[in-house]
């Protein structure tokens, strides 16, 4: 299973911290997230900064990254100001 974690405004606005979904590519995992949480839009997910097992993934190829059992996908909204 894959653990999807939500941070920043995406966590607050969608009122979700964590979700467990089935293995697949990032694209497939995000589809599962949208099915489980209808209040999360595709646009919101595509804007998120993504880390797989703490490693940053970006670009269109990020959607095809394969997530295996036990992997963690973190979705963060941009933040600043300390």
């Amino acid at each position: 299973m894959i653990t999807v974690k939500f941070f920043g405004l995406i966590c607050v606005d969608c009122n979700i911290r964590q979700l467990i979904v089935k293995e697949g590519t990032v694209k497939q995992v995000l589809n599962q997230v949208m099915q489980s949480c209808p209040n999360i839009s595709e646009q919101r997910l595509s804007q998120a900064i993504m880390f797989v097992n703490k490693q940053h993934i970006n670009g269109n190829k990020r959607f095809s990254v394969l997530l295996k059992d036990g992997d963690e996908l973190a979705l963060l909204s941009p933040s600043s100001g300390g």
């Binding site: 941070f7 920043g8 405004l9 900064i49 940053h56 941009p78 933040s79 600043s80 300390g82």
Partner: protein, 632 residues
Amino acid sequence: MFGYAEKIAKINLSSGKVEDYPVSDKDREMFIGGKTLAAKIIYDSFKSKVEAFSEENIIVITTSPLTSSTSPCSSRFNVSTISPLTGLLVSSNCGGSFGLHLRRAGYDGLVICGKSKGKVYIDIRNEDISMKNAEHLWGKNTSEVQNLLGGKNIGKFVIGIAGENMVRYAAVISEERAAGRGGVGAVFGFKNLKGIIASGTENIRIYDRDNFKKHNLNWIKKLKSHLLTGEQLPKLGTASLVSMMNFRNQLATKNYSRGSYEDFEKINGETLRQDFTIKNKGCVTCPIQCGRVVKAYGKNVKGPELETMGLLGSNLLNNDMQSILNLNHLCDEYGIDTISFGSSVGFAMELNEKGLWNNGLNFGDCAGLEELVKKVATRQGIGDVLAEGTRRIADKYGGNDFAMNVKGLEIAAYEPRAAQGMGLGYATANRGGCHLNGGYLVVLEGLGLNVSGRISKGKAAYTIFFQDLMEAVSAGGTCLFTTYSLLPQALIKNPNKILVRFINKVIPSFGWLVGFLHNHSWLMSFNVMGILPHPYSIKSVTGFETTIGRFIKTGERGYNLERIINIRQGLKSSDDTLPKRLTSELQRADDDDSKVKLDVIIKDYYKIRGWDEQGVPTRRRLKKLGLEGYSI
């Protein structure tokens, strides 16, 4: 003159004499107010090096034209002195209401000199200034003292027990807000000054009230509609950065030995909001409201900022949020800077771990920390050593390479090996290891925009630009958070788009252009609200012909003047450095770019600043800034 009370009081604590401190209209136009005007006063007041704990040292409190003007986020005021931590100039900024009330009492600022024989506080009421006995206030914490000094409509600025005991990083508190950095509270304590109160009914004359009102409404709208100032900061506060910093390896962890913490989710902004926040709170006239109200010891109190979460959390491997809330509250009550306290404790833990100082403090074992705050404030036991700060602890026990300070001031919660520009900022900031005075380049390096934090190309020019911009914003009296709304939302909201990724990639290549503009600020002789609202506000309030270019030049002028004061205080170019851990140890063994390449970028920095190889501002640069005649 519009925008000013036109009065600064010079108060001699030794003699009790109060007189006007002369400031010319030209000085006001050149330095505006806040920390830059304070630097001008301190430069003029000393002829040679002055020790922090000496009767010669002065405390300069300054407001700005926008203070109490109803401009958004403008309740800020400044306090400057020679720091007992660094021996250099320190300027500490505070969001409490004291500055606003000082202006209503009829003063733009105060110059406090000498040393009182007995314990006193200063009472300012509608221009009348008197010194009053503070024996009954001594030994009391900051909230109790403020309660004893009066009710609403009185501005208060007081020290706690730490200041009385000259803890070198003692803060001064107004309401719950701290002028925290650099030990200004210790100088208050040395002078036997418990605090200052001010009240009055004066109003500042506004040059162009109609345009000012219109401009304020637009500015507030801009702040409220921006992703960072309108959503993220109100909803999550500054603590929202913990998560992003952790993923980007920028979160100070275990005395900066690494940049991420496995338990960060227990102490991040999301957990603070969900499980501990009662409501938002903010400074007067602030539409952002980034502050939090939380519970500590059964009371509703101010919640911790990002820096506090880092320094009292991940830096100590403390995963107990309630412990952080309690420690933050205790530091406010005793009047202690949470950054320097957390860094000193983290350093002591590592010294203990390495067998260099057997002090009983261990990473992750935070049960005794609340008692330790008291020990520091009262200088009991190991608290007496910790109260000296990391540099002096290292002098006693060794470990200089991992004593996380610059010039004696403990660095903030951003681990700079993953943010090269932030590292340069720490190394060159006039007050020492400060993220804000350092230019906060991390705003480009992953916390805002997404320029790689591992590269150094172009960072010198951007660091200088942001240092001068923040200096100018401080001089004007506005909260630095207002600058975040200047970042284009399209770049922040869409980090994954091809064009945005391309822009983030090429931003460092435009360092030369930023450096060019820095040296030719006359090219920015215009005002555009959408680019930078601050100079237009100052123009509306004062009538000064302030443009974006002139505004940033004011910041540069202040930065250079502070540098001159510091050189007079003994600063050398070799002090523009970082602890060896950050420049020599790789943060990640497989990444050669995971250390701060300071030796490369600091040369560019000096060159663009117009300083010589020793880091001294050249005569030519000083002349350009209107500082001819200002010498070391």
